[in-house]
Symmetry: C2
């Protein structure tokens, strides 16, 4: 039986960080780059408090997210050796449910609806590996956690960090 | 730490069977009762093949489902001793995602969004108990499966069967 991987969406296969920076420049006329928000939390990444949450609750935010570089090819590669599940925390923002499903169908049409999970917290998800950018999900995971690099997790060192999808492949190809 | 229960929606806390029978009478003018479809599969429950699937893909089907008798009080009672998660297979019918969330907010407002999971298959759900009417979910579950009585599962005897929510409480109160 294939080993299983739970792969997060936002910050892992969907580049929310790029979208935040693009929308911030569009709305406030200030160009910021990834280095400007590195090490900050989602709530204080930008001078305007709550702007990240405001963006995430705007219709169209999730349907227009850029795909994380290399994610499509890497997920296809992993599916040869692993049973891949997309596990996304979507319940906090009800609008995101249909938008996320639409986005997956557009960019990852090779992932079956059987392998998609939208949840609140991820504490009852049981897979061999979890690739996620949030330590709140990784900390309570019972399998092997893999922390995908993101601006808000730069200060944490207690999980195996991967910086991009090439590093995910290198890591998992050696463990499969 | 509280033990965990995954509770299904359709056929467990939502009375889809009653809705099928009501809609069938409304659309075809034929009054059928639960005994008429007992032991049949979802595909051949009614003379018209595929009508169950057609109902389930009709806008408003999931928002207007009757609550299963006794479910609200029983879930509230269980929440005193267990961490309760609502785990529903919703991905096959994308429209159902927002409808199911709306229905839960209306009838089960005391369940946090953190404890709601919409999935494709349920194979990576890891709780101590699962209450579900479908053997395809119960058969691969690693915890204690509890089969909620439904017309389509009357022929199966390999899981502990409960006929109503009072039986769920009696069973789980003795095991908590």
């Amino acid at each position: 039986m294939k080993k299983t991987i739970a792969i997060d969406m936002d910050g892992v296969i969907a580049d929310v960080e790029k979208q935040f920076l693009n929308w911030y420049e569009r709305d406030f006329g200030i160009k910021m780059v990834k280095a400007d928000i590195a090490g900050k939390g989602e709530d204080d990444a930008f001078p305007e408090k709550g702007i990240v949450r405001k963006f995430a609750t705007t219709p169209g935010f999730f349907t227009t997210l850029p795909v994380m570089e290399g994610a499509i090819e890497a997920v296809q590669e992993l599916m040869k050796d692993y049973e891949v599940y997309i596990v996304s925390a979507a319940m906090e923002f009800p609008l995101s449910l249909s938008e996320k499903l639409e986005w997956l169908k557009l960019h990852f049409p090779f992932i079956s609806w059987r392998n998609i999970i939208f949840c609140g917290d991820k504490s009852i998800i049981n897979t061999d590996f979890m690739i996620d950018d949030h330590i709140k999900n990784l900390d309570y995971f019972k399998g092997h956690p893999i922390m995908f690099h993101a601006f808000h997790n730069t200060g944490y060192t207690h999980h195996t960090r991967v910086h991009d999808w090439q590093e995910v492949l290198t890591l998992l190809k050696s463990r499969g």
